[in-house]
Symmetry: C2
Subunit: 394 residues, 2 copies
């Protein structure tokens, strides 16, 4: 007898993945150069050269048992110290190595925090548009998933809707800025307003309401925009980070949870994260990568290629008449679908081998997502298709 819920999760492919697989099939038929695949959010710039140099150096300098052996469950202390030092140097904080739990990427980091907060009737909020996997992560780890409707103009946060969504069971709000799928960076004003609402509501209900800051795109920002460090604005913030995008290491599964001392019940929450990590099988992040990120923690990505793509796409699409909040971070754009139905528009685009992700799973069915982490030549080849599609929209 097999769990129906797990079977469903294993057989329902995400629309992103479906489009990607369709693109591969079409490429075999019409040629790769005639498929315009904007589906996946996979880094398209290689890892910095220092990553390779670091791995080589570790293999030469460190003995095998120390490279490949178990570390303690939350990670090697040296690696955790390197992460804490880097945060403190950048954000003027006092984070200790003991506040850092190195994780096998951002997904288990998030899930560990979710399970740590999964008391009876717990609810966790996400602000539309949101990364679609938040829903199964929350719903299958003991909490109710509650969506705060989107600000479809600027993709900041509708504080009235946020406040309506909070009740005595609200344990946390997932905040993802720079945002997937909108590419928008929450302004400091937005975050201060958010902090004010949460502070007031936490007081009203007599327990903390945490922010879970999901920050894989923290280092990917453009136009000199400031990406606020949320713990400096709202003390009850837990950070979930991954080097997937900043070092282009998505396959290596290396990230962290940070529970600063300033967080209410910090020690207990950190311990509960450790407990949750244990029963989802996440003790000891990949050890060679722990050593690698410790050596590369101060590197910042060269985002010029993403920025160029962003500008080309934004300028072209808006010139054709598409509406889009200008992205300032991550590597996505979230565009209003001409005609208002993103699924129908995506289906039309698919007929022309242009693969764009309808926004229903992100909580915004009127919008589609395109990844700007793609080949620039493909963008140039695809622009006439974007133009034709909006011109022929009835």
């Amino acid at each position: 007898m097999i769990s129906e819920a797990m079977l469903k999760l294993g057989t329902t492919r995400s629309c992103i993945r479906e489009l990607f697989e369709y693109g591969n099939q079409q490429a075999a038929i019409v040629g790769r150069e005639n498929v315009y695949d904007y589906s996946l959010g996979n880094p398209s710039i290689p890892a910095p050269a220092q990553v390779k140099a670091s791995i080589n150096a570790i293999l030469d300098e460190v003995n095998s048992l120390s490279i490949h052996g178990y570390t303690s469950a939350p990670g090697a202390l040296d690696a955790r110290k390197a992460v804490a030092d880097d945060l403190n140097a950048r954000f003027d904080t006092s984070i200790r190595p003991e506040n850092i739990f190195l994780s096998c990427g951002a997904a288990p980091a998030l899930i560990s925090v979710i399970r740590a907060l999964a008391v009876e009737d717990a609810e966790i909020l996400a602000i539309a548009p949101f990364f679609p996997e938040y829903r199964p992560f929350v719903e299958n780890n003991g909490c109710k998933f509650v969506v705060v409707p989107a600000d479809t103009q600027q993709f900041q946060i509708r504080m009235d809707k946020l406040e309506e969504a909070i009740n005595s069971h609200t344990q946390a709000v997932i905040v993802n800025s720079p945002n997937n799928p909108s590419g928008v960076v929450y302004t400091k004003e937005t975050l201060v307003s958010l902090a004010n609402v949460l502070t007031r509501k936490a007081k009203e209900f007599g327990h903390p309401i945490y922010i879970i800051a999901d920050e894989p795109y923290r280092e990917l920002a453009y136009d000199g925009v400031e990406v606020s460090f949320i713990p400096s604005i709202y003390p009850d913030t837990v950070i979930c980070y991954s080097w997937s995008k900043s070092l282009s290491l998505p396959g290596e599964r290396i990230g962290y949870v940070c529970v600063p001392d300033q967080v209410t019940d910090s020690a207990q929450l950190f311990a509960a994260v450790c407990g949750a990590a244990r029963i989802i099988g996440h003790v000891c992040a990949p050890s060679l990568q722990q050593l690698t990120v410790a050596r590369c923690v101060s590197l910042r990505p060269d985002v010029e290629a993403y920025d160029r793509n962003r500008k080309t796409l934004y300028d072209a699409l808006t010139s054709y008449g598409y509406e889009c909040a200008k992205p300032k971070g991550a590597f996505y754009m979230f565009v209003k679908a001409p005609g208002g139905n993103a699924q129908a528009f995506s289906d039309r685009a698919k007929e022309k081998n242009l693969l764009i992700v309808p926004g229903g799973d992100f909580g915004c069915p009127d919008f589609f997502r395109i990844s700007t982490s793609v080949d620039h030549g493909m963008i140039l080849r695809s622009l006439p298709v974007f133009e034709e599609l909006i011109k022929t929209q009835v």
Copy 2:
């Protein structure tokens, strides 16, 4: 508000880990050479040279995006094919790459299978003595944990007790051979009897009862003993494997789940494992390690050092009067505690800086575990302490 269950899991340290930490503290006081630490089951032989050579070659030959990028959720097809080919060559099977789900080590492999089987009122059996983490893995992933009492003479399986433990809710039996903590390898006769009981009970209750074969120690066997390939004896066997011990890569979190086609509802079970992996955050095993094990899959460990330790300890301890089933695999011995209370005996040993793990958490409170994956010199220094302890036992 923090989950009490997760907090408890995060604050209750295993007795293994506690002894290990105590050993480190004592080493600082009395000197490392005067602490005899048999607590951890960490490989003490380095990874084969070919692991380092493979990583170096991958870094030189493969482009960064292919090394460090996301693979599909169950892993890169080439790596899965390498694993399937190796199994087929060794065990005369017809396993396809599509039967293999590469995982972040054995723990999430097991947990994915457990959650895939977590229907209402599901029960999962473990045969004492068992790896203590099985209990939290099962209990916190939707199933009831049921212990089959140990055969404390040979540490094979008491079929009468097994049969008593099975009911209509029994979904699976975890089988771990070579066994942690006993070091015993189940004989073919044991496994055939087990298969007969399960086949009969599955028929009686009208649904499959799976074996979850937890096999991190498969390649660690001595005295030419045969480690049976369980799927060849019982078709409804799912394998959970890890290269932690066979390639001395425990920190790298790389293993697999194999659901062969012969398994009842194979496709659905595999899909449910994929679904479960998704919501515990385990899609895409560490990508560099996927490529590494694909190149090293046919290597077998040089277990000479473990074997030497095993012989030295077994011969010495039995000559002093200790009782112990002779281990034929893994790197553990499970010894009857003089006086019958392993906790008390372990406490006495601790006073002499001899760290041995009492068997309560393994389901056998009369026995203690020692790891033979240790320094040979430490063994020699520790023998007089073992001798003194049994002679002074009242």
